[in-house]
Every structure is written in C-alpha cells, then in structure tokens.
Subunit: 488 residues, 2 copies
C-alpha cells in the first residue's frame, strides 16, 4: 500500500447562525468554524473520523496548503494507506472555539462593536469547544462518527465528546491527556498567562489596534510550555550541554547553550503564528477541564457508550501515564469496552505528534473492523475421528499444514489433531486418532472481530483456530500468521 | 537530648583584601563575604562544618535574627542536639559570591565607579563561589573541615570543594544535586532569565537608580522555578483543584485555583527579598557547572579524598536521582569511600529543606565517629567449649542473654552459642556444646566504626557480634539494639 499525502488542501469555513449557550452562562451570537476534510463521506455517512487538535494546533491536520513548506500537523497518520486512511475514512478537523486559526476567538471581530473582542470574548470551556464541533458534524448530517481522536487538549475534547454526546461516536482514542487538569498542569499554564499579563504591550488585551503585540510575554509563555512538552532524556539526546555557535563559554548573558537558543527560537516563531489572547482563553479552558462529578470520575463517565482506546506516553511528565490509567479505571468501572497502551518513546509529551510507527499501528489495530470471515482459510483439510495416525500424517504432508480439524460425518468439529499430537503418537505407540487428538478444542465464529480473536489466541497461546458456524460445522481455519500479516 | 535553637544570631562580614582571579579570566578587586557561625571552634580547629546554600539562600542558616518571625533556612538540622550539633560542631555558612544577602554581587557598589555593578559585575562560576568560601575558611586557620554539606546549588558547591580542595574536608554530603546541569535544568533557568530581560524595568541591569525594580520579570522567574521545586503529588495534596476564595469558577482571568494564587504570592514575596541581577548571575553559574573532564565524570572526580554521602530525593524531578547515582558511580570508579541514600518524600526537590527526620538521621549517622569501644558491653558471660548444654542454658537464664561466646582457657573466641542453638540441641538430643555451637563466628574490633559494624550486621542479618582484640581474646559484645539506641 502506497503511503501518500492527501495533497493540496484548503481550509473551509462553516458559519453557525444561531446563538450558542456557553458553560459560563454567556451567549455567543455568531461563530465561524474553520475546518478541513480529507477523503470522501460515504453514502451511509458512517466513515467519518473527527480529529481534535491540541493547545496551539489548527484545522490543518494533513496535506499541504498551496505554497507551504510543511504539511499539516498530523500528516504522519492521515492519508492514503496510513492508519487514518483517506481512501476509507472521511477525516474532519476543525479549529477550536477561542482559537486564532479561522474559528471565532478573541482576535475575531465582535459584531456588536466592529472591533476585535479582546477580553470581551467570553471565557470558554472544553465543553463549549465540543458543542461547536457538534454543530459542524451535524451540518454533514452525520449521526454517528466512526471515531474521534486527539492528543493532549485534543484528548480532552475526545473525552468531553464521550461524555456529552455518548451515541455520537463508535470509537474514541484520547491520547496523552487527562480527565481533569492537575495543579501542576494549571501551574504551568498560570505562569504562561502571567507572562502575557506582565507584558506592557498586552494592554489588558487591547493590543490589536496598536499594531504592537505582546511578543515577549507570549514568547515566554511558549518557552515555558515547550520545556514541558519534551522529556529530560530527549533534551539530553538533542542538545546535551552543546554550545551554540561558539567553541567556548563566553562568560556573558548571551545564549551559551544550544537548548537556550532553541527555546528562544521556539518562542519567537510562535508569536508569529499565535494570538496572545487566544493563548489565555485556551489555556484557561484546559485548566477548567474536570470531568469528575462530585469528585468521582466513575460518575463522570457513567454514560459513555463508545469503544475506547486510551493511549499515554511513558516519558510524558506533563500528562503522566497515571492520568491515563485513571481514565481507564473509571471507564472499566462503568463496563465500557476500553483498552490501554503506553507508547514507548523518549520524546516526552510531544510523542503523540511524532511516534509514527506506534501511532499508525495502534490506530489501525483499534479502528480495524476486520472479522474472521475476511481472513480465514476455506476449503481446508479435515479428517474423520475413525481415521488412523498414518492417514493424518499423510494429509498434513500433502496439504502442508500442521493443524487438522477432526470432524463427524456432518463435518461438525469434535477435535483437532496437530503435528505435535502425531509426535506424541510415536512416543506412546498409538495408532488411533481418538487416542491422541485434542478434544477440548477452542474455536471461533466467522463474525468475530480479528482484534478479539487475536487477543484470545495470544491469551491461550494458540497459533491456529477452527472457524465454525452455529451448528459447529467447520467453515475454515484462522492462524496467527494471517493476523500478523494483516496488522503489518 | 533537648533539641533547641542556637537562639539569636548575627550576620558577620569578612573582607577579602587581595584581588580574586575568576574562572572567566576577570579579576574582582574587593569582596565582602557575609557569614554566620554557630557553636565554638575547638582548639584543634577540627570540628568545623561548612554549610553551602541553594540558589536564593543566604548565610542565615540557623537561629533567629533579632525581631525576625522565622528562623534560618536550615533550622531543622542545625542546633544543640540536632544532627549538626552546635554543642559539638562549629557551623559556618556564608552567602555566595554574586548574591545579594551581604556578599559582593551585582547590586554591590563597584569601587571603580561608586555605583552598583549591574551587568558590569563579572560572570561567576560555582568554582569562584567556592574560591571565596575557601578564603573565609582560611581566615579561621582551619586546615581541614570536618564536613561540607549542601543541597541543590549548595550540593554543587560541595562537589566543587571535593574536586578543587580535596584535602580540605574529611566528609562531604552533596544533596539533591548534579555534577553538571542538564539541558532541562538549563532550560528552566534560561526562561527565568529571559523573563527578567523582558521586563522593561530591568533596563539592561541598570535599574538601581530608578528605584523601580523589574518585579514582574523576577516574580515570573520565581514562579517558574517554584513549580520545579515541588512534586506533582505534593501539589495535589496541598492544593488539588481547590478554588481560591470562591465557591464556583468565576469564568474570568482572576486566579481561580489555589495553586495559581499560591504561585503568584511566591513570586511577589520573592521580589521583596531578592535582586534580579543576582538571579541572573547565580542561575548562570548553575548552568555553567560541569565537573566532567573531557566528558568524563570519572576523570573529573579523580582527586577526591573526602568520605562522601550522596543524597537524593525520590520525588525530585528537577534533580532526579539518576544525577546523584551518576556521581556515586564516578566516585566509586575512583575508589572514593562513598555511600548513597534516597530520601523518601513527596515534597519533590524542596525535601532537602523539609525532611527533618530523615536528614537528621542520615547526617548524624554519617558524621558519627562512634566506634565499637564506645558502645560495647563488657564483662560479658562466656563459656568453655567443654561445657554442656544445660550449663549454657543456665548461664543464659541467669544473665538474661541470648548469645554467649565460646572461648578457650585463654578467653580466645572459638565459637558462639545462642538460644536458637539450644533449641536445636533439644531437637537433636545433643548434650555437648561443640555439637551445636556456631564455629564460623563473625566478630569485630573495638576500633571499628559503628557505621561499618551496623552495615555489616544488616548485611549478614546478625543481631549480636563479639568484640575481640588482635589475639582473638573476647573483650565484649555489641548488639543491634545498642546501635539503634545510639542512632535514635
């Protein structure tokens, strides 16, 4: 399968005509949503996947904007032949409410004043962001998304969707995220906001007219945040104590070390693409996020219906794995179908944007709807119970198989004989198949999902499973080799 | 032992008359060192302990300044009856070069201009700080310190002393520190400096005359740093998601959460007691710190002669335990007598200022020069090898002991018999001591240190050890109970 890009894409705009009631009690009259889509929505409208972006992300998740040098932020997983396969799925990604990448936010024009909102923009929540996304999804007449996927603040939106619109998605993948912001997470965001407030150019949020933005404050906020996105180890590998453009320490306050220079550059680049007020609103939404009800996350998740895959990153110290396992525990307590994997990476929090191989593998695996029928071998060799060992051995050699189901005259499964059983027959000098065949045989049905079967076979250390119908008539065989081939 | 304070103390000043050559190649002509001492220097000048303070610490480590509401920063370990016992030791603590608490730094008057140095102050290193401390120690005519102890940047000074003046200390305790600043540590310091540079009131460091200090910048730097001093868990315990002076979220940019308000307060308090330029110089010294030679820490530590106890804190993510074990490994490779303990605490990096019980225990244990002779029981019961089991049992009952050394006529140790051996004799129906006594008996000498013996007994799970002279003549017994009593 050729793994390509979706190519040149354009951001589209959706205008919400009716007022939106916010969690704060405020109302916002007009909202424009910037979004992109990749792939085609099928006739049944059942193949849509919503992607939710992180703190400073945007609607441009994949492909290339005309003339751009870099593709969308999640190009590694979205595109033809990738896990979020645009030949199969219709991918939607929108900029969040409060953002500055096309969706209405504090830098948008307030229709009441004809000027930028600034701090007149209402404080918003992750719930409000999701409410706006829901209107976009409704505009496609999609009644259930195949999946919702997102990392970091994107993961918070995924969790919010699961709770607020439980029937609106079949599957959900929250990554490197939390069901509530911890005090340490709030602390880092709070210091970022203070650094913007402290910049004299911020002017209480009314800096748009002056043409001078609070670059120092916003740049500092980004530098602080950027440290939290990387692991200690990844910084060691990337920079160590390397010096920047010099052979010796200069004994002044210029930027001696590469890591200093890198961070400064990150801050300076960021102010060119992001609005300081948006940064205030979005970090505040993250801080306010808390899905627990009366301090109980189990209560918070009581309505969840989606099938969920929770992912964390082992070296992520900003959103540590414990916050993900807290989610898993609370979902489990509600009998939600939930699985969990920890991505192995030294990238830290940023791994959810970088670990191409693991993300593609985990997504493909979880999204896969393959059933046994799609994969099983048909027209397989079977043998009757009254056959002798020599007959079984000849059949194995002839058909190049190691497993032969033993069946009745009506082709119903009563046992299985393997090359191992034949070896046993030599040792015990048995000639009859009934003496050596396994009768407590495990089997599966044609409609079982590959995922279930794979888990089952791993659990019982089985390499080959007969497939039967409801009358136990043997239909075929499925092997771990076939499953491995599918997954790779 | 009554654990008291050293009471009211005063900061003293030591003037260095001769110029000091700095690592940068610059020279500083006049340096004043602010310092405090507690306890009395003995006649042999052998009981002095130097305490090194952390980033924003000062010379006031213990006791009370007239009228103050809080004692010195390490009151928990310094004072009569505490581990740094002022009835036994002469404790010295000085403010570092570049500081703003009495020792010459960027806020001091430059004798050449009659104005504050500002950025004309030369960039200094941890090595320069230690060079200045050495001159203070020399002024007392102390030729060897009993110990040097410090945490965080104080630990860096301890390591620097070990390397630069290897014979100047008997023992050293670096705590929660590193032999070189990691890129993540540099990153946090660099962002702190940028926040000061970004404050318009900083004015290139020349803010002293204006009377307006760069409070926003310095306050932000402190807030960032303060997050790194606490663990995620301690913040959870201390604040959780508790709101500050409100029952509900206010949906504005006031400080909703207690953790926000706490950090803001930390920043605001800090600017009242610390100079912004000093913050620049001292964090820079920390960033420049690197004791490795040609990337080898083993080479860096090749001259160390002190006996070293390295301490880290399990929840410290700013100076993680790995940095301490790197120090231990490199010292071990140089055959330095080094021990290591990890303090169990959820306080994070700040634990080195807070974990009273563990710090006192570890310091006392390591500084203790007690030998077996000081503690052993003399005039103990012994028994001859030709005695029978009944005789041994009677002696045990009579003397209320569970261990009796078995000796020759010359009182030389040949074995030991315990109550456990006597039980064995019943089971095996043995009457002769020689059948049941332990002959591969472990023992110690009167001059062994309690620390060594305690480790030895723990290792072999022995509760009682005979003490012998060089001819194996039994002098007494030492038990783990006696050792425990000493340590508590």
């Amino acid at each position: 399968m050729n793994k390509e890009s979706v190519g040149v894409v354009e951001t589209k705009y959706f205008h919400i005509e009716e007022p939106i009631d916010l969690d704060s009690g405020e109302v916002i009259d007009e909202v424009t949503v910037a979004y992109e889509t990749y792939g085609e929505l099928n006739k049944e409208k059942s193949n849509a996947i919503l992607i939710c972006h992180a703190l400073t992300g945007d609607a441009h998740a994949a492909g290339w904007h005309e003339g751009d040098k870099k593709p969308g932020w999640w190009e590694i997983v979205i595109g033809p032949g990738k896990a979020l396969n645009t030949e199969k799925y219709f991918i939607i990604c929108s900029n969040v409410l409060g953002g500055c990448k096309g969706t209405t936010g504090p830098s948008s024009i307030n229709p009441k004043t004809g000027k930028e909102y600034g701090l007149d923009f209402p404080v918003i929540t992750i719930g409000d962001m999701v409410k706006v996304q829901k209107k976009l999804i409704d505009s496609f007449n999609i009644t259930q998304l195949a999946a919702i996927i997102g990392g970091s603040m994107g993961g918070m939106q995924v969790l919010e969707w699961m709770v607020s619109y439980p029937t609106m998605m079949k599957k959900a993948i929250p990554i490197a995220t939390a069901a509530m912001s911890s005090p340490q997470q709030i602390a880092f965001n709070a210091v970022g906001r203070q650094s913007i407030f402290s910049d004299p150019h911020w002017k209480g949020g009314n800096y748009y007219e002056s043409g001078v933005i609070p670059r120092n404050g916003l740049s500092l906020a980004r530098m602080i945040a950027h440290i939290t996105y990387l692991s200690d180890e990844s910084m060691d590998i990337k920079f160590g104590r390397g010096l920047q453009d010099k052979d010796e320490i200069s004994y002044d306050f210029s930027l001696d070390f590469q890591v200093e220079s890198y961070l400064k550059h990150q801050g300076e680049t960021f102010v060119k693409r992001f609005d300081a007020n948006s940064y205030l609103y979005i970090t505040k939404a993250v801080d306010l996020f808390d899905l627990s009800i009366n301090d109980s996350l189990i209560d918070g998740f009581k309505n969840v219906e989606a099938k969920v895959q929770v992912l964390s990153v082992d070296s992520d110290w900003l959103y540590p794995t414990e916050q993900s396992t807290d989610i898993v525990t609370a979902l489990n307590a509600n009998n939600v179908d939930v699985s969990f994997s920890e991505i192995k990476s030294n990238y830290g929090h940023d791994a959810f944007l970088l670990e191409k191989g693991q993300l593609n593998y985990l997504f493909a695996n979880f999204l896969s709807e393959s059933v046994v029928e799609d994969l099983m071998m048909e027209n397989i060799a079977t043998i009757k119970a009254d056959a002798d060992v020599v007959e079984a051995a000849k059949l194995m050699l002839d058909r190049h198989v190691t497993h032969i189901p033993v069946v009745t005259d009506e082709n119903k499964l009563i046992g299985i004989v393997t090359s191992w059983d034949l070896s046993k027959s030599i040792a015990t000098d048995s000639n009859h198949l009934t003496d050596i065949m396994t009768t407590t045989v495990k089997y599966c049905n044609a409609g079982d999902t590959i995922e279930e079967i794979a888990r089952h076979m791993r659990k019982f250390d089985i390499s080959c499973l007969p497939v039967v119908d409801e009358d136990m008539v043997v239909l075929g065989l499925i092997t771990t080799d076939q499953i491995s081939n599918l997954l790779s």
